[in-house]
Symmetry: C2
Subunit: 149 residues, 2 copies
DNA sequence: CTTATTCCTATTAAATTAATAGGATTTAAT
DNA sequence: ATTAAATCCTATTAATTTAATAGGAATAAG
């Protein structure tokens, strides 16, 4: 029942980008340093984040990554889904394409997993990156970066 | 964000036991057959379930396993925790012994994970085995076993 | 032209999960 | 007593997923 590092690192990465969004394209190298995540691994996380339309890349020197949308229009749920796939405590109740199960007819544990899925989704969708930025500012002051998230 | 088969198979196993609780000790062999789970694997699942005081074993011929408590006093949450450990979408917000994190001070993503943890726990703790038995009877009638759960 | 960067693909390492195997122990039934 | 049915125990292996690394190609600023 754990999130993998994809989701955790990825959320930290986009939050880092939200906190630094007025600095122009942000290099993975700088995120990697601030967040203590390997640059190569961050690279892999950017692929699904780009595909999901959450970040954009700027190639070449002075390039880097920027958020594709305003932080208040990006929910934690979007980020997590982009990185970990549809929310699904078990495959048969996946948000996307629930896996067919021969036992489905009359399955009574499934209703438990459905409720778990919905409650997770509700929480994740209730937070935007902007919420986290605001929260972060409480600790670090208006203009300082938030390294430890 | 997936449950492992430990939790899924284990819940099916104890529910199977709840549905057959008037039959005396239930052999792993019979659960394995009804549920399509390898007997050896079930054996491994019984260890933590016993330790958690949810099932009792009866050794020797005609032995097997029985629930240690009434189904209405066993929650899905207890079963899942016994098999998967404390609920913790990330280690730093584990129900039991949250892992210390150097970034904890001023960590803003943590409040998200805490809410996720609590919402999962709330759902899992809201269902008892008896609830699932009742639900199951709706499909199969009062006295028939529920094979497909 | 050089440098800094993303991009792309492949590979490896590590960890976890799932399953299997083989035998020791216990106990009911004969 | 003997047998058979079952749990118990430990170790091993197989499979899968996660995490990280490596090496270079493409792009664009200066």
């Amino acid at each position: 029942m754990k999130l993998s590092t994809k989701g955790r690192y990825g959320l930290r990465a986009v939050l880092d980008m939200a906190l630094n969004k007025n600095e122009g394209p942000i290099t993975l190298n700088s995120i990697a340093e601030r967040q203590g995540i390997s640059e190569g691994y961050l690279e892999q996380l950017m692929v699904p984040l780009k595909r999901a339309g959450l970040v954009k890349s700027v190639r070449g020197a002075q390039g880097g990554y920027i958020l594709a949308k305003d932080p208040k229009n990006i929910t934690v749920g979007e980020v997590i889904r982009a990185l970990e796939g549809p929310i699904a405590p078990v495959a048969c109740v996946s948000e996307d394409y629930p896996e067919e199960c021969e036992r489905a007819e009359g399955c009574v544990t499934r209703m438990v997993w459905e409720k778990v899925r919905d409650s997770i989704a509700e929480v994740l969708d209730s937070f935007t990156l902007e919420d986290l930025v605001q929260e972060s500012r409480k600790y670090t002051g208006q203009n300082s970066y938030m390294y430890y998230i």
